[in-house]
Amino acid sequence: MQTVLNLLEVEPIRLLVSFGAVLFLVLNLAAVLTMAERKVSGYIHLRFGPNRVGPRGLLQPAADVFKLFTKENVSPGRSDLWVFLGAPIAMFIPAALVWLVVPFAPDAVVADLNVAILFFVAITSIGALGVVMAGYGSRSAFSLLGALRGAAQMISYEVPLILSLLGVVMLTGSLSLVDVVQAQGDTIWTWYFLPQLPMFVTFYIAGLAEVKRVPFDLPEGESEIVGGYMIEYSGMTWALIQAAEFASMAVISAVTVTLFVGGWQPPLPFLDLGPFNWVWFGIKTALIMFTFQWIRWSVPRLRMDQLMDLGWKVLVPVTLIWLFVTAGAMLVF
């Protein structure tokens, strides 16, 4: 036993084991999130949601996963097969990789990089590649349109996403996410979402667009282009795309919490749970994800030109102005 624990001290093994654990968590999280989504939608729609499989329908995701696992995997006749099959993987890996740098608790982080924020930005932008691959590989007008929309949207919203990070980086003076959390302190009014409120809102909106959730789900646009880039996927490949979507949604929530809402820090000092502070992290992330779902079932979808208008004409100027305000305030105080 001791030898096993000692092995964990060795850097590459620790990295691998902890990343494995995180990957396991992510895959399960996707399943749990589908369930949560159906339940939340049920309560918003004044109905029950799944409640027949297992106690209160809790085994529903298991049934879904097993079913998708045994489903035939169709690839369209004239598709570009390797691109088609590679796309879900290209979508899933970036979503899972970002979890490497997210600090769950003071010491619970797979890799405490000193350029973690840069890493996050770099990895999330790879996600657009998977979308384009899926759209190109499927060889269908609908998926091509979805992929083009997805690429345009994800690349455009990278800009406000990065700009809104800069305020936090300026205040902290570090690119490490652990440093960011520690700099925020253990009281709710010292967290960055108050002084950086416009940046927080921008990051939230840009994050919503980055993970393609309603009202920014144009690449999927179920009532317009019938699932967009994922229209031709079936069985496990489709499940992998879904897992990637939910994982990236969770990771955006986690990074939002880390950057603006104090990470694992308790809202008030006396609520400090010591080694169990990851509970705070979990609660905050779940709350942010709940708001994502709340929005999903409440508002219609934007149109492409309106989406671009919002990104370039509203979000980017707001973040630029607030960067100047932050810089000025740092000079004065």
């Binding site: 091509l144 009202p215 508002v299 934007l302 149109r303």
Partner: protein, 395 residues
């Protein structure tokens, strides 16, 4: 010639971009840009049934839109010719299956015109009453579908809650949830059950209260809803009249035309109601008109329930109907517009010819006129503006 000028004008309007920015053909050729052909439907979540649109896309902008129908052509006119007069009513039920009571109503009025019979006043009043319930049952889901196609999922569920409640009323009165076969030639199948007027009254009062929080508050102030619908599918009055539009698409341009008001039939002469119009002529205006019409229907139902005449509901016509030779034409205002039935009799048991003028078929001509120039996602609100029903446009 006069007609040719008109036609030229009409073609000019076709190439005029509406909201999108069309790349001019010259530039397209110069840079070797290509348009995509896209086939939307017949199985598509936003096509209100089985409609196929052949689209030519320039990026996201639609250059050409060609609707293809007939995927639900069920030969209703031919079947109607081979049935006895009363046996046609179930066929008419299935034309516009969202507001099917109006479909029976129109057919029965046409045959009654042929037979020249008097309808008992109570039957007339109950026909109008159920017709207005049917209109609410159709309009509220229409609003829900519009939002569903824009991407908001929740309003349709709230809409179907109301529809379910009205279906319960219909089930109590007629015995069926959807295909009622309630209006008969010369009257009604049965009188209202005991205590039904009170139930209806309480339901209508509840609906009036729920309309604001469940629908108006949820939809009207929403920024995204406004930005997706305002100015989309803009129709001028002249265009609307030229295209022969009726119903909500016509009224939302400001032309005041309602068959119930201007060609009154049945009990509607005795009712006091407004024709709701709106000046804007876009999708948002159509939403407002539909909401206003629901309120007017509530008003009418209250009026009917207040003075419901007493008496029989079915005159004695005998089992065998053999109208004299001639034409019977009747028109009613269905939830989608003017629905007219033309029955030609040759003096036998079966109609010689039955022609259904369904509003959806005519209103859908609008698609190939106004969709070009819009963005692809704008097709969905435009479908919500016209709100066709598959069974009605295909007959």
């Amino acid at each position: 010639m006069l007609g040719e000028e008109r036609r030229a004008e009409h073609e000019g309007a076709l190439t005029e971009p509406a909201s999108g920015r069309l790349v001019s053909p010259d530039i397209r050729d110069e840079f070797g840009l290509e348009t995509i052909d896209m086939n939307m439907g017949p199985q598509h979540p936003a096509m209100h049934g089985l409609l196929r649109l052949i689209l030519e896309l320039d990026g996201e902008t639609v250059v050409r839109c060609d609707p293809v129908m007939g995927y639900l052509h069920r030969s209703k006119e031919k079947i109607s010719e081979n049935r006895m007069y009363p046996a046609v009513i179930p066929i008419t039920d299935r034309i516009d299956y969202m507001h099917n009571i109006a479909m029976e109503y129109g057919y029965c009025l046409a045959v009654e015109e042929l037979l020249d019979v008097e309808i008992p006043p109570r039957a007339d009043a109950i026909r109008a009453l159920m017709n207005e319930f049917g209109r609410i049952m159709s309009h509220i889901p229409s609003i829900g579908f519009l939002l569903l196609e824009l991407g908001a999922f929740t309003p349709i569920l709230y809409a179907f809650r109301e529809r379910e409640r009205i279906q319960n009323i219909f089930e109590a009165v007629t015995g069926a949830r959807m295909m009622f076969h309630y209006i008969r030639i010369g009257g009604l199948k049965a009188d209202l059950p005991e205590g039904m007027p009170e139930t209806m009254w309480s339901y209508i009062e509840g609906l009036e209260k729920r309309l604001q929080p469940d629908f108006v508050d949820l939809i009207e102030g929403n920024e995204i809803f406004i930005s997706r619908t305002r100015g989309i599918g803009k129709i001028t009055q002249e265009k609307a009249v030229e295209m022969g539009l009726t119903g909500v698409p016509l009224r939302c341009t400001g032309v005041e035309f309602d068959v119930r008001k201007h060609y009154p039939y049945g009990w509607y002469e005795n009712l006091d109601f407004d024709v709701i119009t709106d000046e804007a002529g876009d999708v948002e205006a159509s939403y407002r008109v539909r909401m206003g019409e629901v309120r007017q229907s509530i008003r009418m139902i209250k009026q009917i329930l207040e003075n419901l005449p007493e008496g029989e509901v079915l005159g004695d016509l005998g089992r065998r109907l053999r109208p004299n030779e001639g034409d019977g034409i009747a028109r009613v205002e269905s939830a989608r517009g003017e629905y007219a039935v033309h029955v030609v009799s040759d003096g036998s048991d079966t109609p010689y010819r039955v022609h259904y003028r369904t509003p959806c078929t005519v209103n859908m001509q609008l698609l190939q006129e106004i969709v070009p120039g819009h963005y692809l996602p704008d097709i969905m609100p435009i479908m919500g503006l016209i709100d066709p029903v598959s069974g009605a446009w295909d007959k």
